[in-house]
Subunit: 425 residues, 4 copies
């Protein structure tokens, strides 16, 4: 059943995509045809028919789906056929109005532009589908409306101002496009200006509506382009905060450098925790699945959990927390009270005795440490210091105590390790 | 008493509405009359009288209400008649200045424009009244000031620049309007420019004040229009977050699709929890009433509560939480510890045994499940998985324990169900 | 000592104010003198001397204060005389450069404009002093820079473009001002354009720097003006939230009206709680004083506390919370468990029995109720419902238990009231 | 090893800096050479070679570093040589394309501009390096792109419009620059306008892309400049909040003045707590080091801790909280219950008896007080009031109880002090 649904979904997406392009071509042709009927009329009717066929096909599909109520995908789930026939059906019907039946310069030609309502809804669907390129999709979407708005205003200007017969058609169009752009961007050179009252009124409307809308669109595109990497923005803002510590509190250079490198490492490896607020929005089951996926490859790197079942992993994933330790930073000192056990995903650490500051052991990728805290309530019996950048996961006593009764095998493994290490001392 | 209050309130709203329109017409006529006295003077005096009568009626009503102190609706509640007479009364008095007593082109004509203060206050009231169309009302409100500002500046320009006798009055006005728009939108074609020093100073003032204000108004209208659907914005921002998970963490396609459908379902059914922060602002009693209303139809769908009293419903409503489960998602697994009982508002679920993964029962709209958790502190004895999108309400043990002593009947019903289900096992 | 400090402070503020005005006049005269030396030179030297004397006086005062270290007001507290002499002293010295010694069109005339640094600091002080008109002060401050920037650019243009001898000086100046405004607001009519290379470069610089700065200033002034009433903004945003409840959840009209009136009452009486986040920023002692002041008049309205000492009031003030109850809303129902005692600041309530819904008593301004909850852990023995809008303060059991051992007199009064009421039952 | 790393890092930063400048010069020369080949060609080839040598050197260094994998600094840490050769290497190779082999006006000259990718990455590194001047660096960075964009568009205009032979080359360039600026800032005087279709299309593209980008850049620079002091912004916003208290709640003048002075003191001494949210982002070890540094000099001022070890200081630093007390404000009153011990960093306080309000002792910089609260659970036995502004640190009982078992020496010192003070009573 799932497969059939996905098939219908894919087909529906493809049709949406075709419709969006078809509408664009059509929306460009209609006003162009009004102002220069001599040029495009040959292709115009055929084009109109093709576009209409696409929309007819879509309408038919929609009606079939609604009638069968087989579609469980949430797309039209809240609509019933009866509701649809009473409300949006009329627009969809008007949008397939056969323009070929009327002369090319008649105003009837504009009726099928009611297709814009269908297209408006579908264009945001496209954005949902190509999730991987969402920011890029936003820009394309804005361009889609940009070009159409500019084109329509330019054609409107030619219609009102009349065609200058001494110049070629392309010259006429470029001049109109040029006037439109100077007006919408508020540059307003003033070499082409309205003369008649009607032209002036047209300019007034274009200036008020167009300028606002255009400014909004340009502002958005620019902001999307420049902010397309939020993790980088985040990194920069961290640096700015650090910078103010340096200026006002004279943080020493070596410490500053280490903090900077920490942020750099976090950023380059995309380890920021901004996912957690997003995950909170999901229902419990779905959240667990996503978290499990995100932490799966890390869990697999830890020897202890290599042959643990899926169930354990999903239980664990929910309780694990992430941290990054910079080189030469202590994870904990001998004598500290602590209740966390650490798992090493990446990097190398050394175990030191407090007095001699002597390295008594090395901890590598895949190892875990600090596990005594989970069984015995006593201070750390050694210090642990990072040699390289370390990417650690940790589990605190509370979470551990909840987990362990359910998984005696894992618990046993850890206890063995504890005994083994105690012997070494 | 309430009815009388509502009547007064409605009357007051209607008068506000009439005053706003009257002021608009008046504000358009006054400067127009100054620059083209030959056209409008015939209608002008009658118009002035009508507008004045409206404002006199309003002033009288206000005085009566304040004198009687019968108005308990919070509108003028903080004012006493004495306060009013000392402060705003003078403006309201000036605003009904009889313009007809003075020649139409005299500057005395401007005095009644002090009405703007009353109108300014009332216009935001209109916005409060038509709550259902609040975003639309904002646009209308902005247009109201847009048109007046543009019109006044245009009339000012004609007054200063003089009327071009060779052109018709409408031509003159359109040209002035056109100049105003090119200036306010900063397009500035430059085909119409100030020549005298006075004209130049007028342009300077228009540019500095007008450009800033106009930019602000246009920016606001555009932003209101484009952001008129905050739930959609919310949906888009969720998708963008999902998109970054896909890009940076390679979330698999099937999981991505499910998360996407969850957000889509939430959005289409308007189930987002952004209401809770709003409800926090209300006093306890009012909050309870609103919550009860919002959850009422859901409570009625649950068989268990069908004949429960209003009091129980309002008690319950405060403690119920909402969740949505996507198809194939587990609500809980056999063996989980859990303290929530679930009520099914919408959708279908199946009860599975862990080992055989066999469906042993179906749960439908109106049922409840997980109730054993409320009585016995033991792990779930079966898994529950959603078949379709499910809209659930749940109650945790703490809330339940607070409620139940007060409603023995409901408690008994639940216990019966528990016994019945235990027998089935 | 405090008095002397306040005197010094006031004097210092007054001098700041004079300096700001003096600098403005001076900053307007200097470039004007450069372009039209024939006009202002007569007054110019005297003006320069006056302005200089003001700044010399200020410098002297500052040096005396620093030398005596008597100033404890935090103004110059972090500076020592030695530090000052090493750093800012040179600027302050340059700023009193005697311009009269040099020809009026010499570039030496610009040296004293270094005064701008002193003025820049002082202008934000002015804003601190006139706290009551802070938003207005921001606008004045922006205007202060607006006018100067525009004036300087206009004078620069005249200097470069040369004076048109056929026109009067005022014509010349207005034209330059007009060019400056069209450029800075980006209107750019193009009737006055640069011709020489130098003029073009001047325009380029004005456009890049000026346009950005001007846009920023205008944007800020507009936003300050339109946002000068944050409580109104808050009210509007509440209404917008309500509006979306009405649209999406069909909240019934009567309930909507009551919620609306609640927000209206809250706003009109400025009872919003946005002060609390501000108060959190103050140290404990100061916070207590401010809270005590804010709640003082309310406490005085409650009969119970009328003759309580200041100490009790300040203790109480910290623990009181505010609430507003709308007409017909229940504060609590008979049978509810509750631990709050309420004090009536404003409004009227009625006590109802649950069964008969009969009013058995009225509660008025200055009364308190619900006090049994403080002594006996049992459900409310009656319902309380608001008749009018009620402004209540409440105290919960925990806070009460902390307070009462310290004030046996108050405690006794309450207990007497409890006994008296129990008898009535 | 650290030293070698720092050396490599410094060298790498220096090379980045040289590359950025080299690219700028090069990027200015290339289009200039295309439009005025007769001027720059003599220097052009030598320049090209120099720039190329710099980039070759950088490429070589990068390859060596990647091959040796000695670089542990996080810069290229995530890349392997093989990855690099497969991906970015081709761009870096193209960027050192020897332009001297082709005629100066050939389009091949543009190939090395692919260097922009390297430069784009490095420019944000520069921003990281000069942390102390981060806001200034942002402005420089924006200017870097400003100037290049403007220059390129101006050169493009000359290329399309042709050189006016009657004017000098500098005239031609200035005119183009002037046209570019009028267009990009949307001033659009209209004295220089496109005539041919190609020119018009060029203008359209410049207007759409350039205007958006330019507006964004200008807006950012202005906002960076005006917001370069966030602590001042914070201070102003505090004053605005205070101002609304004064307006709506009539806060008395003396209290207002004290609150104002508190904020002033906090701001001038940069004691705001906005560092804490930043510190939360650091891993435990690093956070501790930063906190320890920030509080070190304060700890050293307290006599009690003067000879405490580093370990104690870092333990303490994590638990200390800061507060500022204004003159005449009480830290606590006799009879209050309190669990905080205070350390005086700055300022003077007096100990008062409640009844006589008589000063019985003075507390000075370096002292501590309130320590009895740590040992005996009883109310304060005296009041403490600030004489001057006091900068205090405090420790609450919980933190103290955690610390003290580990440092018996400090504990003993405090107990001695307690005994000594009790004797005095």
């Amino acid at each position: 059943m799932m497969n059939k649904n996905i098939l219908i979904k894919s087909a529906s997406n493809f049709i949406s995509f075709v419709m969006i392009i078809a509408f664009f071509v059509f929306s460009v042709f209609v006003p162009f045809n009004q102002v220069f009927p001599q040029i495009v009329s040959n292709y115009y009717n055929s084009l109109g028919w093709i576009v209409n066929l696409i929309f007819i096909f879509d309408l038919a599909l929609k009606l079939i789906l609604l009638a069968n109520k087989k579609n469980n995908l949430g797309l039209f789930s809240e609509e019933s056929l009866a509701d649809y026939l009473k409300t949006y059906f009329i627009f969809d019907l008007l949008s397939i109005f056969p323009i070929a039946l009327f002369p090319t310069n008649s105003l009837w030609q504009f009726v099928p532009l009611i297709k814009i309502f269908s297209v408006f809804n579908r264009i945001s669907f496209i954005r949902q589908i190509i999730l991987k390129f969402a920011p890029f999709a936003v820009v394309v979407q804005f361009l889609y409306w940009f070009i159409q708005i500019t084109h329509w205003i330019a054609c409107g200007w030619i219609k009102i101002d009349g065609i200058n017969e001494q110049h070629s058609i392309s010259s006429n169009y470029i001049t109109a496009l040029y006037w439109t752009t100077t007006t919408l961007t508020t540059v307003g050179y003033g070499d082409i200006v309205p003369h008649s009252n009607f032209e002036k009124l047209y300019s007034v409307v274009v200036m008020i509506i167009g300028v606002g809308l255009y400014g909004y669109l340009i502002g958005n595109v620019v902001s999307v382009i420049t902010k397309r990497d939020p993790t980088h923005e985040h990194f920069i803002s961290n640096l700015e905060n650090l910078s103010s510590l340096v200026r006002y509190r004279n943080l020493p250079k070596s410490l500053t450098a280490r903090v900077k490198q920490y942020f750099l490492y976090i950023w380059k490896n995309r380890l920021e925790h901004n996912e957690s607020s997003f995950l909170q929005k999901l229902p419990d089951g779905l959240k667990l699945e996503v978290i499990t996926f995100l932490k799966q490859d890390f869990i697999e790197k830890v020897n202890l959990f290599k042959d643990a079942g899926n169930e354990f992993i999903s239980d664990l994933a929910e309780n694990l927390r992430e941290t990054v330790i910079t080189p030469d930073e202590f994870v904990f000192h001998e004598g500290d009270f602590g209740e966390k056990v650490y798992f090493v995903i990446e990097g190398q650490l050394s175990v030191l005795t407090k007095n001699s500051n002597k390295e008594i052991a090395k901890i590598k990728k895949g190892d875990f440490f600090g596990e005594i805290a989970l069984f015995k309530n006593r201070p750390r019996n050694a210090s642990v210091k990072a040699i390289t950048f370390c990417h650690l996961y940790y589990l605190d006593k509370n979470s551990f105590d909840l987990l362990i009764p359910k998984y005696p095998l894992i618990s046993k493994k850890i206890e063995e390790k504890v005994l083994e290490r105690e012997k070494q001392d």
